[in-house]
Amino acid sequence: MAWLTEQEAKAKRKTDIGPPHYSKMLPPVIAKNYGKWKYHEVFTPGTMVHVAESGDKVYTVRVASPRILATDNIRTMLDIADKYCDGYIRWTTRNNVEFMTTNEANVPLIKKAAEDAGYPAGGIGAGLTNIVHTQGWVHCHSACTDASGLVKAISDELFDYFAEKRLPAKTRFALACCVNMCGAVHCSDLAVVAIHRKVPVIDHDNVKNMCEIPTTVSACPTRAISPDPAKKSIKINPDKCMYCGNCFTVCPPINIHNPEQDGVAIVVGGKVGSLRKGPSFSKLAIPYIKNNPPRWPEVVEAVKNILETYAKGARKHERMGEWIDRIGWEGFFRETGIPFTHQHIDDFTFMRDTMRTSAAFKW
């Protein structure tokens, strides 16, 4: 295949056509029973069936994905789909891969083929599904940890909860490589978010050429930034900075990265669905753990402790946040043994709603 020339490209290109219509992408059993499903049953963490009003059944095998996928490996998946699934495949909203078949006998074959290709089945029902994450050092200039590597290290350790073991309820785990949080990290049962802890360093010589000073000043949510007319630059009040990095986003000569002090925080207890307890934000469990690539053992240890304390303590169907609601945050810190620090107290914006205004609490 040769690259199109400029002219060929111009001739060929279309604009504003939008994505292809989904109807071209649906397996026949899906197209036929669209909107007419009756119920489903989960067999194993990697397999389930949906039964239609017509009596038709579709078996789904869900397999793990590292999300960074090479074209050649995707082709291997497509081969499996061609072989067992009439040439259809799908990804989930969390980036797992789903193979669907109407033939129950194909289920173990699909599982085996995918596993052989390196993509084990799991993630369905009351257990851990994959950890959603974003770019990290692989692609994003804003990242203060790597996403894929940390996710890989954690997922290896918690693999059984994906593929075999059950938990009290679905557990949604997410990872964000900076506080921009490109995902639903802020509403996850368990999440890792990378943070800075040091005031940005300013390359004063470049500020005047590369930044709009008023924009930069107003980008700071805590008003830590003011113009520095002498230097034709800006200055930052270190007492007010809470390391959000917004100034760095709008003004390249501001550098907030600090390899020795950057790291991650662990947050817990958020959720998205409205079942039982309404959607809610994750809350701070551990304010800081240092970056320790390639396998971040301290982070892995910390999240495992939390997950397993939850698994032991929660009642059936209780999500992480519901378990914590029942035992109280004082119970959470007691049961997990995590120390409680000044960083946990929300005195930036929400002190009124988060400080305890009741004489009732647990020791």
């Binding site: 994505p19 590292p66 999300r67 960074i68 799908r90 990804w91 909203t93 997922s155 390899p259 690539p293």
Partner: protein, 392 residues
């Protein structure tokens, strides 16, 4: 191609979870881009920092978005990633693919790009990771000529997304995939040509389970619901009981409104007090089903924490019918955009603007009445505004 030693990354080939390092190495066999990505990433692991510059503005002719510019800060050391832009291809609704069409994209990507992808990005796009500037136009020409288009980026409408809904889920109250497709096509111009104060995202979920996390990360969250009762199949209830379900503990006691009761034989629901939270239905899907009129709750405003803390979407329209061509939804969205565009500062999301202008201005601008369903609770302080028209 250079051969990089990657002792740190090699550690991440071990273990049962699929390895992204293996993926990069697979692509690295084919492209210099993937190979240098590997080298630069190993260096990041060693130095505990990224080596990417702030994105520059790159794209395809006539579009303001769809491509994220990305340049290595070490282009001499890693020339293969000197340019390493991302191309966002708008996914088909529901993320279903036929293998034939997808293979075409993969082939093109091997030709024009790094051979590395994300299936998918967090917003929902097929993310093609690592493209040189000069490859953008021809790659776009190839894919668009095959019926694909770019997704959103910048201060524009972002690629709408949805759960798979009616395609395979018994709980879908609305046709999520069709709504998502329709919105995407109707608003192509807003999607490709950033003209707003900041980004705007739609996400569509078929029910309150919200399998696309719309309530946490969409300026407009569209969530299916119903207006009738929950129909109970008592025989199926008994089957669950026989199957070992503790109906009292798992269903009745976990109902957040306390509106269910079970006498060991019959399960009954006080529907007027049910909040349609989906707990009981999700746990006893064979026995329970929402009935009556179907439609959606429209919630507005969620976003990530930058810079004043995350927002979850707020209920604005408790119930809206959802029938193609979704005129009511579209008129509603357009009113929001108009008000937002007229009032927002740069980089101010819809939810943030509502916070700063007040809910009343917003509701009046979009012509929605105040309703108790919009709030968890009314105000607690005695300070509130009166307009002359209120002082009758």
């Amino acid at each position: 191609m250079k051969k990089y030693e990657t002792p740190l990354l090699d550690e991440l080939e071990k273990g049962p979870w699929p390895s992204f390092v293996k993926e990069i190495k697979t692509a690295a066999k084919k492209t210099e881009a993937a190979n240098d990505e590997l080298g630069q990433l190993e260096k990041s692991y060693r130095d505990k920092k990224g080596y990417w510059k702030h994105g520059g503005i790159v794209g395809v002719l006539g579009y303001g978005g769809g491509v994220i510019g990305r340049y290595s800060s070490l282009p001499n050391e890693f020339p293969g990633v000197a340019h390493f832009h991302t191309v966002r291809i708008n996914q088909p609704s529901g993320l279903f693919y036929n293998t034939k069409d997808l293979r075409v994209i993969l082939d093109l990507w091997d030709e024009y790009g790094s051979g590395l992808t994300n299936m998918h990005g967090s917003t929902g796009d097929m993310v093609m990771l690592g493209c040189r500037t000069e490859a953008l136009e021809p790659f776009f020409a190839e894919v668009s000529s095959r019926g694909w288009d770019l997704g959103g980026s910048g201060s524009a409408l972002r690629t709408p997304a949805c759960c798979l809904g009616k395609a395979r889920c018994e709980w879908a109250n609305i046709d999520t995939m069709d709504i998502c497709h329709d919105l995407t096509h109707t608003y192509q111009d807003y999607l490709h040509r950033p003209a707003w104060p900041y980004k705007f995202k739609f996400k569509v979920a078929g029910c309150a389970v919200d399998c696309v996390a719309s309530i946490a990360r969409a300026d407009c969250s569209i969530i299916g619901t119903w207006k009738g009762n929950i129909a109970v199949d008592q025989a199926a209830v008994q089957d669950y009981a026989k199957g070992g379900m503790d109906i009292k503990a798992e269903i009745v006691d976990m109902c957040p409104t306390g509106c269910m009761s079970y006498d060991g034989k019959n399960l009954s629901i006080d529907d007027a007090n049910c909040s349609r939270c989906m707990h009981c239905i999700s746990k006893m899907t064979k026995a329970l089903k929402g009935t009556g009129e179907k439609g959606a709750t429209i919630l507005i405003g969620s976003k990530a924490p930058i810079v004043v803390g995350s927002l979850l979407s707020w209920v604005i329209v408790p119930f809206m019918k959802m029938e193609a061509p979704y005129t009511e939804l579209k008129e509603f969205s357009e009113k929001i955009w108009e008000w937002w565009d007229d009032n927002a500062k740069p980089r101010e999301r819809t939810g943030e603007l509502i916070e700063s202008k007040g809910m009343r201005s917003f509701l009046e601008a979009i012509e929605v009445d105040p309703q108790p369903q919009q709030v968890y609770e009314p105000r607690k302080d005695p300070f509130f505004f009166w307009k002359d028209e209120d002082l009758a």
